[in-house]
C-alpha cells in the first residue's frame, strides 16, 4: 500500500470514527464538522443525566429550600472569581478584572464567604470569564464544536482551556483541602449545585427545542462568541437577520411583485 493510499484510509477512518460522516444530514454545519460523533456523545451525556444526575439534583432541590441553594451556589461561584478576574486582566479588560476582584473581596467578607451576593445588589453583577475566552480574545480560533463527556458543549479551544480552568477554579481552591472526604464532598456538592442552577434551562430546552442538540450547540457557540466580543460592543454586534419581507416590500414599491397577504 502506498503512502497516499494509506493516508486516504487513515483519513477515511478518522472521518468515520470522529465525525460519523455518513450519519450527518445533507447540509453539514461548518462550525460542527464532527456532528456525528458529537451527537453520539450528546446522547450518552443525556442518558447519564436523565438516569443519575437529574434525579440526584431534583432530590437536592426538593430537600433544600431555594435561599439555601442560592447561598451554596454563590459560595462555589465566589471562589472562582479570582480566576475570572485574572482572565479579564489577561484579556486587557482591566476594569472588569478589578471589578471582579472587588466583588470577591466584598462578597467574601460582607457577603459571608460569598453566600450573599452583596456586590450584585450594589450594582456590580458577576462578569463570567475563563481561559477559553482569553484565548479567543487573543485570536485563537475555537476549532470545531466538541461535545465532551459529562461537561457537554465545548469546542477544541474551550475543551483544552478547561485544563487551566480546572487548575485555577478547583485545584488551587477546594483542591487545597487536605481532608480527602471533605474535599470530595465539596466537589460533589458543587457539581449538584451547578447542575441545579441549570435545571430551568434543561426544562426550557426539553419543552421548546425542535432539536435539543442543535439548540444547545447554537446557544453555546453564540454565547461564547458574544463573551469574546465583550459586553460593551453588544449593541453594535446585533445579529443581522435578512428580512425577506422588507426585500419584498422594496420590490413591491418598485412594482416588481404583486402584493402578498401579511
Amino acid at each position: 500500500m502506498s503512502t497516499v493510499q494509506f493516508r486516504n484510509v487513515l483519513a477515511g477512518l478518522a472521518c468515520s470514527v470522529l465525525a460519523g460522516c455518513a450519519a450527518v444530514g445533507n447540509e453539514p454545519n461548518p462550525a460542527d464538522p464532527w456532528e456525528g460523533s458529537n451527537r453520539n456523545m450528546y446522547a450518552i451525556n443525556d442518558a447519564v443525566d436523565k438516569a443519575i444526575v437529574r434525579p440526584v439534583t431534583e432530590l437536592y432541590a426538593f430537600l433544600v429550600p431555594r435561599p439555601v441553594r442560592t447561598c451554596v451556589l454563590n459560595m462555589f461561584v465566589n471562589i472562582t472569581e479570582p480566576w475570572s478576574g485574572l482572565n479579564s486582566i489577561l484579556q486587557e479588560r482591566g476594569h472588569d478584572g478589578i471589578n471582579t476582584l472587588g466583588r470577591f473581596l466584598l462578597n467574601s467578607t460582607a457577603g459571608i464567604g460569598g453566600c450573599i451576593d452583596v456586590a450584585s445588589t450594589t450594582g456590580q453583577p458577576r462578569i463570567a470569564n475563563d481561559f477559553g475566552i482569553t484565548l479567543g480574545v487573543w485570536g485563537v480560533p475555537s476549532g470545531p464544536y466538541l461535545v465532551l463527556p459529562i461537561i457537554g458543549p465545548s469546542t477544541v479551544r474551550d475543551g483544552l482551556s478547561d485544563i487551566p480552568n480546572l487548575y485555577g477554579n478547583q485545584i488551587i481552591t477546594i483542591g487545597l483541602i487536605n481532608d480527602v472526604a471533605l474535599r470530595n464532598s465539596l466537589w460533589g456538592l458543587e457539581f449538584v449545585a451547578r447542575r441545579d442552577a441549570l435545571l430551568p434551562i434543561s426544562k426550557t430546552v426539553d419543552s421548546t427545542a425542535l432539536d435539543p442538540y442543535s439548540f444547545i450547540r447554537d446557544a453555546y457557540l453564540q454565547r461564547r462568541e458574544a463573551m469574546i466580543r465583550g459586553n460593551l460592543q453588544d449593541a453594535e454586534q446585533l445579529p443581522d437577520y435578512e428580512d425577506f419581507e422588507a426585500i419584498e416590500a422594496d420590490e413591491k414599491a418598485l412594482g416588481m411583485k404583486e402584493d402578498t397577504p401579511q
Binding site: T70, D117, A209, L210, S214, A226, A235
Partner: protein, 220 residues
C-alpha cells in the same frame, strides 16, 4: 418535579424564609407601583420596563400562577405579553430564506405554531417568578432615533441570585414599538432557531417544520 420543589417540610420553610427575610429580602424588596397599561408609543426603555414590571406584578399577585398552574400562566402570557410582541416577524426572521418559499397559508400556520412554542418558553421562565424577583432596565445605549433598537435589562430571579441579563430587540411599527427578538445571557432567540428551522425544512419541507412545531407543542 415542579410540584415537588414547592413542598418542603413546613418547619424548614418557616426557618429558612425567616433567615432569608432577616438577611437578604429586606435589602431587595421593592414595592411595585400599580400602573396603567404599557404604552407602545413611549420610548423603548420605558415601554419595555412597563411591560415587564406589569408582568412580574401580575404573576406575583396571582394565586393560580404562584401555584405554577401552567394554564393560568399561558393565559397571562396571552394577555400581558402577546399584545406587545410581533410574532410574525420573529417567525419570518427565524425562517430566513425559506419564508419566501412558503405559501401565505403556510406562513400563517408556521407563525401560529412558533407562537405556541414561544409562549411555552415564556411560561417556563415565568414559573420561576417569586417574591424576590425584580427587574432593572439598563441605561439606553444606541441611537434613540433608530427604528430598530435594543433595550437591555437585568432580572434578579429570586432574592440573592445572580442577575440574568435579558435584552429585547424592538422595531418601530405604525402601532408603536413591538418586541420581536429576545436575548438571554448572550443568546438571541431567533438566531438560535435558525439552524433548527433550516434543518427541519431541508429534510421535511415547510409543512414538516409546521408539523414538528405542533407536535412539540402538544407533547408534555
Amino acid at each position: 418535579m415542579r410540584k415537588m420543589t414547592s413542598r418542603q417540610p413546613w418547619f424548614l420553610q418557616k426557618i429558612f424564609s425567616f433567615v432569608a427575610c432577616a438577611g437578604v429580602a429586606l435589602t431587595l424588596a421593592s414595592p411595585v407601583a400599580a400602573q396603567a397599561n404599557p404604552n407602545p408609543e413611549d420610548p423603548p426603555p420605558e415601554f419595555v420596563g412597563q411591560v415587564v414590571d406589569q408582568l412580574i406584578d401580575v404573576i406575583k399577585k396571582d394565586e393560580a400562577a404562584r401555584k405554577l398552574d401552567l394554564a393560568r400562566i399561558n393565559q397571562i402570557v396571552g394577555e400581558y405579553v402577546l399584545p406587545y410582541v410581533n410574532f410574525e416577524k420573529t417567525t419570518r426572521l427565524a425562517a430566513g430564506k425559506y419564508w419566501r418559499q412558503a405559501t401565505p397559508e403556510q406562513q400563517t400556520a408556521l407563525a401560529d405554531a412558533f407562537r405556541n412554542t414561544l409562549i411555552r418558553t415564556y411560561s417556563g421562565a415565568l414559573t420561576r417568578v417569586d417574591d424576590g424577583t425584580s427587574m432593572t432596565i439598563m441605561p439606553f445605549r444606541g441611537d434613540a432615533s433608530a427604528n430598530d433598537v435594543v433595550v437591555q435589562s437585568q432580572v434578579v430571579e429570586s432574592s440573592n441570585s445572580s442577575p440574568v441579563r435579558i435584552d429585547y430587540r424592538l422595531e418601530k411599527t405604525p402601532q408603536g414599538w413591538k418586541i420581536y427578538d429576545i436575548n438571554v445571557e448572550n443568546i438571541w432567540l431567533i438566531q438560535n432557531y435558525r439552524n433548527q428551522f433550516s434543518q427541519e425544512i431541508s429534510r421535511n419541507g415547510i409543512d414538516g417544520l409546521i408539523a414538528a412545531l405542533n407536535k412539540r407543542n402538544s407533547s408534555n
